[in-house]
Amino acid sequence: MVIIIFILFLLTAALAYASKDIKVTRMIALVMGIINSLATLYFLSTPLLSGQVMSVGGLLRIDSFSAYMGVLITMLYLFTVVSSHRFIGEEVHEKIMDAAQTKLYFLLLPIFALAMLTVVMADNLGLLWLALEATTLASTPLVAIYKKDGSLEAAWKYIIICSLGISLGLLGVLMISYSGIQSGMEPINSLSLSMLTAGAAKLLPAIMQWAFLFAFIGLGTKVGFFPMHTWLPDAHGRTPSPISAMLSGVLLNVAFYCLMRIKFITDISLGSDQWTNNLFLIFGILSVVASAFYLYIQHHYKRMLAYSSMEHMGILAIAVGMGPIGIVPALMHMYAHALSKSLLFFGSGEILLRAKTGKIADVKNMIRKLPITGVLFIIGMFALLAAPPFATFASEILIMSAAVTKGHYIIFMILLAALSLVAVGLLKHTFNMFNIDHTEPSHAEVEHEKEKFNLTHLVMAVQICLLIVGGLFMLSQSGYNFFAEIAKSISY
């Protein structure tokens, strides 16, 4: 089944690229994308719901954590494919993108998603590293696709900084392998995640500390932790909006997933999770605080959303840094952030198509010009800000409770202050964009082109429903138990 899924993704890419007509390319990408996604969701539902572990050739291993991440990636891919059909169609119509750019876009989109799926399904650290690097290589041309100065700068920073980071991550991986060999493992098994986890107690703690440090700094660059985050707002801000949704919504989570896997091996080797937890807490707090300030002073709405992703990665790091009590809310937060952030990026694409500018100051009266997008965007913003009953509310309230339960009162206070600043910043910018400006001619005086309900709106509406249903589920006992079962599989 895994092979069929891999073939389906590659076939989608090849067919979309081979087509000569842009309309056909978009249609193939849409239809095949839906088929791929449904097949992948069906395949991943077994390990996710039953807890059954699937192993393929010693290179892939799908437990419930991998399946959970896979479901998040696939959902976001499905939403992106549907939204891209509309967004790219409009950009082609406006002559912002030509046929070659469109074909490149639909060639790389499934490859990018497949690379992320491979990362979360990999049982071999070498394969995991290669797939993570493949995510950078597949997404760099997507960041640079407009070939304008801003997008080229963003793509350059993205590939150079992330490649430097991932190279350091490779050094960490090699050190883990060295530690495995020194503890008596066969060299071929010294990269296997399941073997390393099983034999983690014998790994050399001193080497594992170094290995984790390199992996943390290296992969932390891809996660977007402060101060290695410099590529993130540029890349997420300059990419076509559906790709921004994928980058912010799941790619950061995928890099975070890698860190979590390595963390648990290191913890067993060290005999305590204190050392790795401290690293997560320090970088988590730094990321949340720094992003709160960056967010407040933002002038571009897509960069604003990108900094918000950095903030949410910080929240995730703080949750994981709390120890076992924070893992369940961290898993919930991955779902909540993936959906709410991608929703807002899809909405920002609609705003960009209409306003033709990314500057907050130049976007006015959006609630009048784009009433459907406006309502969905504002609801999405409340979802991102952890308003009840959205999933973010459930995850963040549990993270805050975990901080208090663990006696991290200072972290609790810092987090509360930073999140308040974030809320003020995001609401201020959002209302500046959507608020009715009475200095502009009114609706009656200027005939605005009436906004019609489109595919992107459908995606945004579905995401809002999923955020509400997810939030209510998370707050129930069965919801908590579901995530607790996934959390168990992280340490095998």
């Binding site: 070498g126 394969l127 590293w129 290669l130 690097e133 493949a134 290589l137 760099t140 041309p141 640079a144 070939k147 304008k148 100065d149 801003g150 080229l152 700068e153 963003a154 793509a155 350059w156 920073k157 590939i159 150079i160 490649s163 430097l164 190279s167 490779l170 050094l171 090699l174 050190m175 392998s177 060295y178 060999i181 020194q182 060299p187 071929i188 010294s190 990269l191 050399l204 001193a206 080497i207 170094w210 707002p233 540029d234 801000g237 300059r238 960056y294 002073i297 933002q298 960069r303």
Partner: protein, 223 residues
């Protein structure tokens, strides 16, 4: 000391020397030449260490290094640069002489790191001193690669910095793991080639937009 040990030491020394000479170059062709020499030394080091350890199945990696890093990668960069007239003169934030001082600092830091990395040298069949030296060289190259990407402000040098860092990691794999597993090694070569091609395409696009390869012009996206 056997002849093969001498050859191994020659390649190890050559790796560091070529990186050192590459650091201060302000023209692309000499910089590329020294990168190719450093990669050649890495391939030679891999081959001679395989003979030294009696593990000749690891010859595939040195051959691939020769093919990809000594031939393909420098050629891709060279032909990209050939299309761009302004590309030959490389830009730095510091003077070339200062670069060598910074390189000396990198060597000192590498020495400190190697003293603190708890590698079990007793497990190695060769002399402890030799392996400490190799580990020192690999760490120096990783740090040199990072240094190049920081102190250089042109697109080509940053690519070469990234590749130098990767050479250092490959050298670390040779020292600590007796070679990286073949599928990973081949995957890394594939990644290097694809990365170089993407970077070359980006350089070409940047030159078309800005008519310059100076990274300081890439300053539109600031907060």
């Amino acid at each position: 000391m056997t002849t093969i040990q001498l050859i191994t030491e020659f390649f190890a020394g050559g790796l560091l020397l070529a990186t050192f000479l590459m650091m201060g170059k302000i023209r692309l062709v000499p910089m590329l030449r020294y990168f190719a020499i450093a990669s050649l030394c890495l391939a030679g080091l891999g081959a001679s260490m395989s003979i030294l350890r009696g593990e000749t199945e690891f010859f595939i990696a040195p051959i691939a290094t020769l093919l990809f890093k000594v031939v393909f990668v420098p050629l891709i960069i060279y032909f990209t640069a050939k299309k761009i007239p302004a590309s030959n003169q490389l830009k730095m934030y510091v003077r070339p002489a200062t670069t060598y001082i910074l390189f000396a600092l990198v060597l000192v830091i590498s020495g400190i790191i190697v003293r603190n990395i708890p590698v079990n040298f007793a497990e190695m069949p060769e002399s402890i001193m030799f392996f400490k030296a190799l580990l020192f060289i690999s760490v120096s190259m990783i740090l040199s690669g990072i240094l190049i990407t920081i102190i250089r402000k042109d697109l080509f040098s940053q690519v070469l910095g990234l590749l130098t860092m990767e050479n250092g990691i490959a050298a670390f794999g040779l020292v600590a793991l007796r070679g990286i597993p073949l599928f990973l090694e081949m995957g890394i070569f594939f990644v290097i080639i694809i990365s170089t091609m993407i970077l070359a395409a980006l350089i070409d696009s940047v030159h078309k937009v800005h008519a310059s390869g100076d990274t300081s012009i890439l300053n539109e996206l600031i907060d």
